[in-house]
């Protein structure tokens, strides 16, 4: 990017709705790459995005998109694509119609707009159904139409509010690859989710929001490395939990075992990476059939729990 101003600059912004706090004193700057905004429902992700898109006016602090206040000026939207959390669309329109119409709002002619719309619909993998009415689309297809509309003017900054919400696994994978592709094209992408695993598959650069506060900002792996040093559980589903437990208990990273229910073994560890390193060898040595390995602590809630715990 040629200009010095970051794509997104949020400076000590607070936004409250009456008594309810949406965003509390958040400051951050984002420029380039894919950034995941993580937080449980109600953490303030959508509020943050609506502040960025000039839908809401901050009560305190300032919001700048490419150095311009989006509340008073629509100029930044030439360079921004936004996928809102709203589910409603013009169901009577075809996807091509929908994207073309919105493209024309960028000042394109009808022909330019149609060409661009076809291009982006192809990019999100909808070119074969682009002449069907949106009302007949599945959830994942609708999300991809929304993404296509946000990309139609080739923006530098793309903001996606929960684009994977409610999608089936196949749609999820295809949307993720679209987002990764955008990141690799050198665009600034901001994507929100309340599922750690989704974000992890797309990017390492994350922002964690909780109760309107900025909880953490940085590399997901660095944050996770901190988390690894804390008590963790690994849940194995196998045919002989007792035998397997006896094998594990002698290993160094494991400090305890538990049998939560029939056919399940829970291993307790202080070093998740080390535990995972020994896991395959121990299982093979024991000769037990293991049908599933789960990390029940490897989710946003435990990450948040850890971060909040670390704060206090």
């Amino acid at each position: 990017m040629s200009d010095k101003t970051p794509a997104v600059l949020v400076d000590q912004v607070s936004k409250w709705y009456g008594e309810v706090i949406g965003i509390n004193d958040v400051s951050l700057a984002i420029d380039g790459g894919v950034t995941g905004v993580l937080g449980p429902n109600g953490a303030g992700k959508s509020t943050l995005f609506k502040l960025l898109m000039g839908r809401l006016k901050p009560n305190q602090g300032s919001v700048r998109l490419f150095g311009v206040d989006p509340w008073t000026n629509t100029a930044p939207y030439r360079r921004v694509g936004y996928v809102s959390e709203s589910e409603r669309m013009y169901d009577w329109m075809t996807a091509l119609d929908f994207v073309t119409t919105l493209a024309r709002l960028h000042g394109m002619t009808r022909e330019e707009a149609t060409a661009r719309a076809e291009h982006v619909l192809d990019f999100v993998g909808l070119s074969d159904v682009q002449n069907k009415e949106i009302g007949k689309y599945s959830k994942g297809m609708r999300q991809r139409v929304k993404i296509a509309h946000a990309l139609v003017h080739d923006p530098d900054l793309i903001i996606l509010d929960e684009p994977l919400h409610g999608c089936d696994p196949i749609a999820r994978t295809s949307i993720m690859s679209v987002i990764r592709e955008l990141g690799s094209q050198g665009k600034t992408v901001i994507i929100s989710s309340h599922i750690l695993e989704e974000i992890e598959r797309i990017t390492e650069q994350i922002v964690i929001l909780h109760n309107g506060r900025l909880l953490a900002l940085g590399n997901l792996h660095a944050i996770r490395a901190l988390l690894d040093k804390h008590p963790h559980r690994i849940l194995l589903t196998c045919d002989d939990p007792r035998h397997l437990a006896s094998e594990f208990i002698s290993e160094d990273p494991v400090y305890g075992v538990r049998f939560p229910e029939e056919g399940k073994l829970e291993i307790q560890t202080n070093d998740l990476s080390a535990a995972h390193a020994i896991l395959p060898r121990v299982i093979v040595d024991s000769g037990t059939d293991v049908s599933a390995i789960e990390n029940p602590d490897d989710n946003l809630e435990s990450l948040l729990g850890y971060l909040i715990g670390g704060d206090s």
Binding site: G54, R55, A75, R78, Y90, L105, G107, A113
Partner: protein, 538 residues
Amino acid sequence: MDAKGRALSETVWTRLDRKAGAITELTIRQLRHRISTWVVLIVGVLVMALLLAFYVDAIRDDFEPVDNDGDSVDWDNDGYPQGQENKYGTSDWDGQEYPGSGYYVMTGEIVWNDDSRFHSGNHTWEGQGYLDSEWVDLDYTGSRWSGLIDWGEVNPCPEGDVLDDWWLDWGEACTYDDGSYFVSGKFRASGSVSVPESGYMQWGHMTLASYVEPEPASMYIDEDGILWDGKDVSDLETIEEVDDDGDCLANMNDNNRNGIPCDVIWILDADGDEIIEIRADYNVNEDPEESKYLGELSHRTFIIGTGKMAFVMMLGIFIPLFLALGLVRDETENGTLHYLLSKPIHRAEFIIYRLLGYLLLAGTYILVLVLLMALVTSLIGPGDSLIRLSDFPVWLGIGLATVLVLAAYGALYNTLGLIAPKYGVYFCIILGIWEFIMGMFTMTLPSASVPMLSISHWALQLIDAIVLIAWPDTLQYTQITSAFGIDSGLSFFWQPPVHTLGTQSPVVALLVSITVLLLITVAMVGIGQASFKNREIM
């Protein structure tokens, strides 16, 4: 401007143009996908079709001759129509009195304070008293209407004193055992009459009768046309020429008090080409030919009435209620606004383009409807030419008024929908009722000041102005209808425009109305924009 500057301005302009095109197109397509749109538009078409049916019916009826003054009727069944009786000065309520029947000459009377209360002779009498008769003309009989005593129904007189204990209605008589009567009314008898104290009686005789040929009733239909050469006001017509049927001459009416009975005063405007006032004596020019006046009158009344009631007050109020109220509000509530507002388009612009889309749809509909109505009515309307081209400016004026009303109400309703998303519809309904009432007031009292606070007032004034521009003689027609008592709805639906700023010019009135309607629209759009600009969108 250099080439670069020009190119830049063109770019800005065409880009604006493209955005406007995209949003107006989207708006129209959205409206087309809503059932309520179609319902309200189809109801409009049905109403117009119904009105046309009435129009065809009415226009056909009006060409049949109508007896405007009702003087072709022989009310008393004596064989002479009222017009002929008027000419001879006889009553059309008295079957014994008709042209040539002779008339009554009074020769004596007894009034309430006369000392002598007795008279005898062979007379035609009128009054109250005891009659001791040698002969009574039982054929000279009548009823309360004519004042003639009804000899067919004479009852015995009650006990007691007349005037103190009992009383007879006019046209009644009662009889005593000795064959004498007490009479109250007109009768013909030979004998002696004694008049009670404070009673009255007069007597006289009828002149000799002569036979007068009864005239056919058709002679008294359309028999008194309007005489007006349209040029010279000083050249008054002679009395005989003005009152064709002579029914005024019988009474020598001078209602306009200019000393000349049975004439018409025509008052022209300053440049002498329009009649602005007519002062006619009663029974003059009161029964003109329908094809000449009433056909034209009802045709114009229909067009003006349809324009005001159906187009401005019905379609003008209801179409925006269904189409404009949710123009921006619904997008906000549906969440689809996010797609539109994440594009580089200002919210204020957005409102304008939305309204533009609505106006394009509703305006096209109105114009098509107006032109259809114009075509049908100008083809079957009165007149010698195949098509009445002079109607088209009026219909287009009605279209213009309706479109301006649609713009003003559209902007108003849209703004209300934005300011009060939940209760906007109730405000709109209340406003609609207010507008309707103010519209009715405007039609009956155009110069009242309260209706000026409504949108419909200015639209109706606009139609009044355009009518006077396209048909300058409409003023003449309203004067003719009121001066000669010809019944038509024109004076209810049309009065000269009020807002001429003292110039009497309908063009000024037209421009004033258009300006006010546009200002209302701009103000409403502005309020909506101001409210929307500072709105946080969830």
